[in-house]
């Protein structure tokens, strides 16, 4: 079955889910490596997501308004002696899209046991 252009792919759903979980734990903002690590922990993947795969997904989510991002203050980064991080946050639109995607997935997987493994793993 062909995927709709506006449909989220499994990795994008996983990223939004993880971002929301981080937000609930009080970490509303995350950087690329943090989300890659959290995704690995959440999904039990053996390896960290490839750079290109991660940033392509983040870029697409941001272009669709599901994530928003900004460069952290240079001074903050300099104080910790590291390069500045690009910090991402899930938007209200992202939360809605995630809820819709999860509901849609539940409908399509009704009758199956458990959630299918992410395609990117």
């Amino acid at each position: 079955m062909r995927r709709r252009a506006d449909q989220l792919i499994a990795l994008e759903v996983d990223i939004l889910e993880t971002a929301l979980k981080l937000q609930r734990r009080g970490k509303a903002e995350f950087h690329g490596y943090a989300i890659a690590q959290s995704l690995q922990d959440e999904t039990g993947a053996r390896e960290l997501l490839g750079h290109g795969t991660l940033y392509k997904a983040l870029d697409r989510l941001e272009r669709r308004g599901f994530l928003t991002s900004y460069w952290e203050n240079e001074a903050t980064a300099a104080a910790e002696d590291r390069p500045p991080r690009r910090l991402y946050t899930i938007t209200a639109a992202g939360q809605r899209a995630l809820a819709e995607a999860v509901a849609e997935e539940r409908q399509t997987t009704r009758g199956r046991v458990g959630r299918p493994a992410p395609a990117w793993r």
């Binding site: 750079h51 392509k56 697409r60 928003t68 900004y70 390069p83 910090l87 938007t91």
Partner: protein
Amino acid sequence: MIEIVHSVIMTIIVRLVIRIATLVTSAAVIPTAERIVMAGTRLCTWGLGADVRERRLREMQSELFEQRQADFAAGLPNEQIAKHILARWMRGILDELSWRWEVRRLPQLPLEEKSKPPIVPPVADFQVDAQFIPGQYPPATVPALLIDDGGHSRMMGWVARRRYEEEQRSRWMAAVAAQRMAAWGDEVIPVAGSITPTAMKTDVTSRTLRLGLHSQMNRR
């Protein structure tokens, strides 16, 4: 006797050289791996817009740093860290290329047009829609950006430098920007002047604030 002393000294020197070489090589593997990844990223972003390219390169630099630190903290040897860096980059190459293809398909201004200074109309009426993130916004009924002079300057900064550090300072999360801001893009436009609110509508359910603004600006 001399031959024995010579032989012992030579053995010590050779061992020392081997030890130093091993140490140097071991220490150099991580920067080498990182240089390879950065070169690959430069190649993948070659010919894309300067802002897109710079952002990806800066993000990659930060990413490599974080990964290296995490691997160091886990007590991994240098060779293993370098292997992780290269393997992770290689796993994403296909997506990197398809991302490049996607980005190139996005409508972009021709370079000549991009290099021209953006046109900021001295007087303009426009509208801003801002969406707030729960727990991170000032109360929607009191838009912090319009309270005082500091607010005014932040507002101007935010308008001109959408998605940059001003956004962090003001804690505003813009989901949709005004038409004129979209036309300005993300370029930094130093402006002087004033922005006066002409209308304000807050939708608490969707956490959206719609501002009608009248601007009177001159580019510095």
